[in-house]
Structure formats: C-alpha cells, structure tokens
C-alpha cells in the first residue's frame, strides 16, 4: 500500500513521478478515496488519535524492562542492561509467587464463577412470580455496580478484628476471634467468595437471557413425554447453553494472566502479611512502581505479563474461532 498521508505532497514535490502513468493513476485513485471518505476520516480521527496516544505511544516504552532506568536520565538515555531485570526478578521467589497466585486464583475464580452463576441462572429461570424475579435479579446484580474501593469498605465492616460482623458473631457463639487481615491461608477462600459475589449476578443474567431464548417447544415436547423439570434442565437447558459457557470459559482463560487489581488491592487492604497468598502480578507491578520506585523490575514484570498474556489470549481466541467464529475477538 502507498503511504496515504504523504501521497498529495509527493505528487507536488516530485513531478517526475507523474510521468509514470501507473503511479499517477494510483495516486489519483487514492486522492479520490480520501475525498470521498473525508467525512468518515474526520469522524474516526479523534477516537483513533486517542487510542494511538494512550495505547500505542506507551508500547515502545516496554524497552524499560531492558534498562537501568534513572529518572534524571529519562527512558532513552538510561543504560541498557540486557536481561538483568528479568534475571533479578526470576532469581527471587517473587516471580514464582506472583505467577502462581495469579494463575491459581484466576483458575478458581473462573470455575466457581461459571458454576455459581449457572446455578443462579437456573434458579432464576424457575421463578414464576414476576415481582419476586425482579427482586432477586436486582439483589444479585447489585454488587456489579459497586467500586472495589467500596467493596473494600464492605469487607472491613465484616472482617475487621475489633468490631467486624464476623468477629462479633464468633464472640456470640463463644468462639475465638480471627484476625482476618493477618491470616493469609484464609484469603483464597475470601477472595473467591468476593469474586463470586461481585460477578455472579452479571453472568447469571447473561446465562438467564440465553435460557429464555430457548424455544418453548422443546419443553412442551418434553412435558408431553412426561419428563420432570429436573430432566428438562439436564437434557434441554444445559446442552443448549453449553456453547455459550464454553466460549465464556475460553475467553476468561485467555485472561488468566491478568488479575483484577482493584480486588487484590482494596479488599485485602494491601496488607503485607497477606502477600504470600494474595500478591499477584498486577499488584506487584503497581507496588514496584509506586512504592518501591523500582522501574526496571516493574517494567520487567509488566512485560512478562504482557507477552505471556498475549500468547494465552491468542491461543484462547484461536480455539474460540474454531468453535464459533462469531464470538472470537477477531
């Protein structure tokens, strides 16, 4: 393809080009296209420019992972150090810890979220009283609208040592209090519940919509054959929404290397004692950047995430495309 933006200039600056009739033909075609498309170009320009600035301009900055970054020298003049940052990162057990935590917790989240929201959707699908159905939907969908900062404060009301709801309840039952924010072993479970609470409503409504899209004829036929409601769920509802479940599963697996920073930062209250089980790649990168000021390490961990994440997304997308091209990202 010709460089489109340079095309008009070239024509003026270099009259020799006009001699080549083929080239001038192409140029005039490009010009015509530009004129014909000028409205669309101007319409799309602000959006495209914003994406170029905020998503593409940072990309060359990944070289920071290979530099000994000094703020006073700037990115370009800081010394190259090859793979040293990566060597440091992988020499400690940090890289191992954050990778395992990220992948392990995301795996649990994906499974519990699919099972949980599916069960919820099946239950919601059975409700016959409209008013109640609306109430249930609102109640489970509600957490989706709350920011992680607020979820963090919700958590504090339930979990804080001195007067949180859970410890007060343990008191009443005559049991020992638990110092939740200092007990790392409890947190995979707490975060799984939090994740389920926050997202199950959204996903159950997605599944519910798919269930309501199933033709009633299937159920009528099954009823005539004397199939129980339970049998109908197993034999009709679930098989018919399985494609959607698989697609959602694969798309989540594609993002298995990316953690939900807000949950890990606010819900754990960034408690250092919890890092062994809750420190993930995203929180580590943030901490290395903002609290430790170690740009090289932060950059190395970030690039590691971007590259491996890119691969998992590509693989997941490739599989999705083979199953259902409509649902793939591209």
């Amino acid at each position: 393809m010709i460089q489109l933006t340079n095309a008009p200039q070239k024509e003026k600056a270099n009259p020799a080009a006009r001699k080549v009739s083929d080239l001038s033909g192409r140029l005039s075609r490009v010009l015509r296209d530009l004129r014909k498309n000028s409205a669309f170009i101007f319409m799309s320009l602000p959006g495209i420019l914003l994406v170029l600035v905020f998503s593409y301009l940072p990309m060359p900055g990944i070289i920071i992972a290979f530099k000994n970054f000094k703020a006073n020298l700037g990115l370009w003049d800081s010394a190259w150090v090859g793979f040293k940052n990566f060597q440091f990162l992988f020499a400690t057990d940090i890289a191992w810890r954050i990778t395992i935590n990220t992948v392990f917790l995301n795996t649990i989240f994906i499974i519990t979220s699919i099972v949980g929201s599916l069960c919820l959707a099946l239950l919601l699908n059975e409700v016959r009283i409209k008013f109640l159905a609306r109430f249930y939907q609102s109640a489970v969908f509600f957490p989706y609208f709350i920011s992680w900062v607020i979820v963090g404060l919700f958590g504090y009301a339930l979990l804080n040592y001195d007067n949180g709801l859970l410890n007060m309840t343990l008191d009443k039952l005559g049991l020992d209090r638990i110092d939740w924010y200092k007990s790392p072993t409890l947190w995979p479970a707490i975060l799984t519940i939090t994740n389920l609470w926050k997202g199950a409503g959204y996903w159950s409504i997605v599944y519910l919509a798919a269930m309501m899209g199933i033709s009633p004829e299937y159920y009528e036929a099954a009823e005539l054959d004397g199939a129980s409601r339970w049998k109908q769920i197993i034999r009709i509802t679930l098989p018919l929404i399985t494609p959607l479940i698989i697609i959602n599963f694969l798309l989540s697996v594609g993002r298995i290397f990316f953690a939900d920073f807000g949950m890990f930062y606010y819900v754990t209250r960034d408690s250092k004692l919890l890092y062994p089980t809750t420190d993930v790649i995203d929180t580590y990168v943030f901490r290395a950047l903002r609290q430790l000021g170690d740009f090289g390490m932060a950059g190395a961990a970030g690039l590691y995430q971007s590259v491996v994440g890119f691969l998992t997304i590509m693989i997941a997308n490739w599989v999705v495309k083979r199953i259902d091209p409509e649902k793939s990202i591209f």
Binding site: S44, I48, F54, M59, V127, A139, F154, M168, A209, I313
Partner: protein, 300 residues
C-alpha cells in the same frame, strides 16, 4: 396440560419446587445484600455503641451524627463530589460522541480504512504496553499528573463499547441512509440527524456503562492525582479508609472544630453517600444495564 397425572399430585409437586426455588433465592438475595445492610446500619449507628458492640444487621443505638457531619459540607467532600460529577458528565458525553463517530465510520462499507482502523482497536485488546510505560508517558511526556484531564482522557475510547455501537449501527436499515444520501444530505448530517436519533437505545446503554466507569473509577486517581483538591469521590473514600481525619485536615473547615469526628460511622456514611446515585440509577434503569450485559456477551 395435566391429563397424564393426577391433578392434585401435579399441583403439589409443582408448588413444592416453587417453594424450594423461592426460599433458596430469598436466602441468596439476603446473603448478597448482607454487606450493604451492615454498612447502612453502621452509618446510622452511634459511634460509641458501634465501637463497643460492633457491626450488625441493625443500627447500634440509632443516630444520625455521621450524616449531620456530612451535611455540614466538609469542603473536601464537596470538592470530591464536584470533581466526580464533572468528570462523569464530561467523560460520558465526550466519550459517547467520539466513540459513536468512530463506530459509525467503522460500520460503513464505503469507508476505506475500516479494516486497518478496526485492527488498531482490536490489537489493544490483545497486547498493551503495560502499566510502567503508560505511567511514564502520562507523567513524563504528556505531563498530565495532577491535571483533571487525566481522569477523563484515558477512558474516552473503550474498544469494547466501540464494537457494541458499531454492530448496532450496522444493523440499522441501510436503505434509509441511502435515501438520505440521494437526497443530498452530507455524511455529517446523516450521522447527526438520522443515525444518532435512531440509535438512542444503544447510546443509552453505552452511556450508562460509561457513567459507571467514570463514577466508580479510582485507578486513574490512585496513579496520577496527588493534589487533594482533585480527588474524586472514590479516591477520597480510599483516603479516609486509611485515615478518617483526612476529611478535616483542611484549614477551611474551622467551623467544624469542636465537633468530635465520628470516625467509623462517618466512613460508612461516606460509603452510602458515594453509592447513592449509582444505586438509584441502577434500580431505575436496570433494564438498560441488563440489555448492555447482553450486547456485551453477544458481540456483533
């Protein structure tokens, strides 16, 4: 319907399963709403009673002290509210305009750069430079630190929303656009006077999600805002979560001196105040959000 089984047996088993379903869902709903109930109760509690008797489902010694304090209008809170409202309104309107213009051109077959431009958007969903390069760009190159624009610009174009809008525009009756074109209407006129009015459902859905994105954002302020005058609501909440005195550490609140700060109840009342608008919008406009969830999952 029930010819094949004894009528009363059938009614009974059907009713029983309905009861089981409803009781289960009642319990689930209660568990989902539990943290909300606890927080609202705490915000309506007396500070001392909350400290000694702890959080519970009902207010400990009903008291409005925390709300009284809030409605005295501490300057920090009023500022944070105005920052959030300004950012949300500006970001949502500007984002809707820019994204729908982009999505519309991408939906038109005649547009020559449709494919490369779509690819530019899609690629950002696969690979990103990551936090560190973005942070350096915004702070060192664009110098947007402590600038209100940094709370707006990065979310103006969200590829996912662009594709939702694009598939909606592509589904509009193309003959209408063709007729308008034959009548001599310019592309701009077609877009603003024909396409946009026809697209209010899609615009409403994406607009509501944008409102949610801006209202709930703490990420950009966590990274790029140090000036307390530019703290949005969510970041103010985070700051008082770490230190409740933060709300008063400001010389212009002298009128509040002498009032003892109800630390714990105040935090919880702040949560309620920050959630309020979103909760009301959510209840009132739920069907749009649900529709959005569906478009998002079905992607055109």
């Amino acid at each position: 319907m029930t010819t094949y089984r004894s009528f009363s047996m059938y009614r009974f088993s059907k009713n029983l399963s309905q009861w089981i379903v409803n009781i289960t869902l009642m319990l689930v709903s209660f568990i989902f709403l539990l943290p909300l109930i606890v927080v609202i109760s705490a915000s309506l509690s007396d500070e001392k009673a909350l400290t000694t008797q702890g959080y519970s489902l009902l207010p400990q010694q009903f008291s409005l002290a925390a709300y009284e304090y809030i409605f005295m209008g501490p300057e920090r809170l009023v500022r944070a509210y105005s920052v959030t409202i300004f950012v949300t309104i500006t970001g949502t309107l500007l984002g809707l305009l820019i994204m729908s213009m982009l999505a519309y051109s991408l939906s038109r077959q005649e547009f020559k750069f449709r494919k490369p431009f779509s690819f530019i958007l899609i690629f950002t969903m696969l690979f990103s430079g990551g936090l560190v390069p973005t942070y350096l760009l915004i702070t060192q190159v664009l110098h947007l630190k402590d600038n209100i624009l940094v709370l707006i610009l990065p979310y103006l174009v969200i590829p996912w929303f662009v594709f939702i809008l694009r598939s909606f525009f592509a589904g509009l009756p193309q003959e209408l656009i063709e007729v308008a074109r034959v009548d001599g209407a310019s592309e701009w006129r077609i877009f603003f006077q024909l396409v946009l009015p026809l697209s209010t459902p899609a615009l409403a859905t994406v607009g509501l999600f944008l409102i949610l994105v801006y209202w709930n954002d703490w990420w950009l302020s966590l990274l790029y805002i140090n000036d307390p005058n530019l703290f949005p609501l969510q970041y103010l909440l985070y700051s008082i979560m770490r230190n409740a005195e933060f709300l008063t550490s400001n010389n212009s609140t002298s009128m509040l001196i002498g009032v003892e700060l109800p630390t714990q109840t105040l935090r919880m009342a702040m949560v309620v105040i920050a959630m309020g608008p979103i909760a009301i919008a959510f209840v009132a406009l739920q069907k749009y959000f649900i529709r959005g969830a569906l478009i998002g999952s079905l992607k055109g």
